[in-house]
């Protein structure tokens, strides 16, 4: 099979990728709940939980904040396993030898663990069991062809990112470093984009955007059944907006990791003004009147300013998505899938602004704040996938460049470019 042919007939792989992305989304929600409930440090050790092997921690001890933190860890382990399977699946039957090697190496590690840490014998058993499962699974592993090279690398990148993400989460607990929590949150959002992109790239729909072998683009359907180009200015605008959303998520993660509740308790005004007073006397007064039960930290002027920046960036994102939706409709026609996606994106941003307001009005209720986190994740993914599709579609257009050249040059690389 040619290197340029994707995994277009591998529907199980595609649906597994979709499932991985879905679980990643749920995992983001679980992570949001951990921070919203101020429960991130409720399990002080890692990778163990209260001295137990994580998978053997008795449910009777999952009380208070432990429930949120431990559930998050278990879900993260599940997503880690799914990502490993996904990455291996992208290698097709070529993954089998690797799995058999793992079937040998992991039990050896298990024996070493038994010798070095005899009081933690269950860890060794788990290593051994994992190795055994890996070895046995290699005989039943899908015999499909491997995916194209860049897709395989995407799978490897997802695997590495999920490992890094897990270690970041663990170090955030062990080192008690809140700044690592910001990186953990951002890496989580990036990982969600990656898994969603893999789900998209393994879909039949995506492959139908690819030029066919004769060089004619398959229908990336426009208003009248005609393939329409996505102009560079529109693609750039959506890419810029997506990058801005990513920056907004960094600001949001920073605000959440301050563990100080709401720096500004009212909306749309801020302490009753369009721009709040941040003088030392004013901040002292704000703190005197804050009566938080949870996250009872004093707020500072920089925290207030950061929340104001968050609000202003939200406004900028709103106007940018309005422009994107309008331009997409004007350029591509209202029935075009990308135009529809752009309007869906605008709807998401509107819902996200409402959720942001509700977060304040509810005094940062955990479920509302977590929904706001998830809204941010969906907004980022929508923008990123829109870019991927637009770049792919534009690259596939014969009038922009000969399809054969594009196929040979990219093999789907425009999508990767869009994700950078």
């Amino acid at each position: 099979m040619s290197e340029n042919v994707l995994v277009k007939l591998n529907r199980p792989l595609h649906w597994f990728a979709v499932l991985t992305a879905l679980f990643t989304f749920l995992l983001l929600g679980a992570g949001g709940l951990v921070t919203s409930h101020e429960a991130g440090m409720s399990v002080p050790d890692w990778p163990n939980s209260y001295g137990y092997n994580m998978f053997l921690f008795p449910p009777s001890k999952w009380i208070g904040g432990i429930f949120y933190e431990h559930t998050h860890r278990l879900m993260a382990s599940g997503v880690g396993l799914m990502t490993t399977i996904l990455a291996l699946w992208l290698f097709g039957r070529n993954a089998r030898p690797f799995m058999r090697w793992m079937g040998l190496i992991l039990p050896i590690l298990g024996i070493a663990s038994e010798i070095l840490f005899p009081n933690r014998w269950l860890d060794g058993v788990l290593y051994g069991a994992t190795g055994f499962i890996s070895y046995v699974a290699s005989f039943f592993w899908p015999s499909c062809e491997r995916s194209v090279r860049w897709m395989r690398w995407l799978g490897v990148a997802a695997f590495l990112l999920v490992v890094v993400q897990g270690v970041l989460g663990g170090l955030r607990v062990v080192l008690a470093d809140a700044q690592l929590g910001i990186f953990h949150a951002i890496a989580g959002q990036s990982f969600f984009v990656l898994t969603a992109a893999i789900a998209l790239f393994t879909s039949r729909w995506w492959q139908n955007l690819r030029p066919d072998r004769a060089g004619a683009a398959l229908p990336a359907v426009g208003a009248h059944g005609v393939t329409r180009p996505v102009e560079t200015n529109l693609r750039t605008l959506v890419l810029f907006t997506t990058v801005l959303i990513f920056c907004q998520l960094i600001i949001g993660a920073t605000m959440r990791q301050q563990h100080a509740g709401l720096a500004i308790p009212d909306f749309p005004l801020a302490y009753g003004k369009i721009w709040p007073d941040t003088s030392p006397a004013a901040v002292q007064s704000y703190n005197e009147h804050r009566m938080n039960v949870i996250a009872e930290n004093a707020i500072t002027a920089p925290q207030i300013i950061l929340q104001m920046i968050h609000r202003l960036v939200a406004l900028a994102i709103f106007f940018l998505t309005v422009t994107c939706a309008w331009q997409a409709r004007r350029q591509l026609g209202k029935t075009d899938s990308l135009a529809k996606l752009a309007w869906f994106w605008l709807g998401l941003i509107l819902a996200q602004i409402l959720l942001g307001a509700a977060t304040i009005w509810s005094n940062k209720a955990a479920d509302v704040a977590t929904a706001h986190v998830l809204g941010g994740a969906l907004s980022l993914v929508t923008g990123a996938l829109w870019c991927a599709i637009a770049f792919r579609r534009s690259a596939a257009l014969p009038e922009i460049a000969p399809a054969a050249t594009i196929s040979g040059a990219f093999g789907g690389a425009p999508a990767m470019a869009a994700n950078k």
């Binding site: 440090m41 009380i63 008690a176 039960v293 930290n297």
Partner: protein, 233 residues
């Protein structure tokens, strides 16, 4: 002989002067109406913790008496360091009872031991979050009926946060001083800093919500009274 007696007298007087010490006493009051305390709603949503209460406990950010006396203000001598006697002092004790820290405002010396107990029937984690370099952050598990946890700190720090992440409404604030000259105002707003050597000092009153007030005093051979009034802004 006369000369010797005079020298001896001078030496004794100088020695007595150096040994002179007095107490700094006073009262803390609050001017204005503080915001109302709020109930620990999340505590009541926890089945284990709420079982210990018939009515929801409330926060104690402002402990104010009928005549505006303010408790839980920490009074100390500003800038007096290097005089800690903490290593020889009995430990300060903080308990976890009813899923709350008791007391929530504490003060201790550098080198003094802080003992944290768990009288509850549930797990707590004792998470100490210092803001001053040299005081290490730690996060330790304390099972019900588990052994006490000991903490010592080498650097002075105001309102060091202790929290339980299992029960995120649980907070305590520990202030660490590098001298024995500090105290916490009681429910009548009164405070006494004992045995302050003669000299000029700046007395500082700190309240976690209301900020800091200072006054200059001179200690001679009798007790000095200094009162503070915090304003709710």
């Amino acid at each position: 002989m006369k000369k010797f007696s005079l020298v001896l007298l001078l030496a004794v007087l100088t020695g007595l002067s150096a040994l002179r010490a007095a107490d700094i006493i006073g009262t803390i009051t609050l001017n204005g109406t503080p915001p109302p305390e709020v109930p620990y709603t999340p505590l009541m949503n926890d089945s284990t913790c709420s079982a210990m209460y018939t009515t929801p406990p409330t926060t104690h950010f402002y402990v104010v008496g009928p005549n505006h006396e303010l408790a839980d203000a920490i009074v100390s001598l500003k800038g007096v360091t290097g005089k800690s006697t903490g290593a020889n002092q009995p430990p300060v004790v903080m308990d976890q009872k009813g899923c709350l820290y008791q007391p929530q405002i504490l003060a201790m010396q550098t080198g003094q031991k802080l003992v944290v107990k768990n009288s509850d029937t549930c797990i707590h984690n004792v998470h100490c979050v210092p803001a001053v370099a040299g005081n290490p952050e730690s996060n330790q598990v304390q099972m019900p009926g588990g052994p006490d946890l000991d903490f010592t700190f080498s650097q002075p720090e105001m309102f060091m946060k202790f929290k339980c992440d299992v029960h995120p409404w649980m907070f305590a604030w520990v202030s660490v001083f590098d001298s024995p000259y500090y105290c916490i105002s009681d429910k009548e707003g009164k405070f006494v800093i004992k045995n302050v050597p003669a000299g000029k000092y700046t007395v500082e009153a700190d309240h976690r919500k209301l900020g800091t007030l200072t006054k200059d005093v001179e200690v001679k051979d009798s007790d000095v009274t200094v009162n503070f009034t915090f304003d709710v802004k």
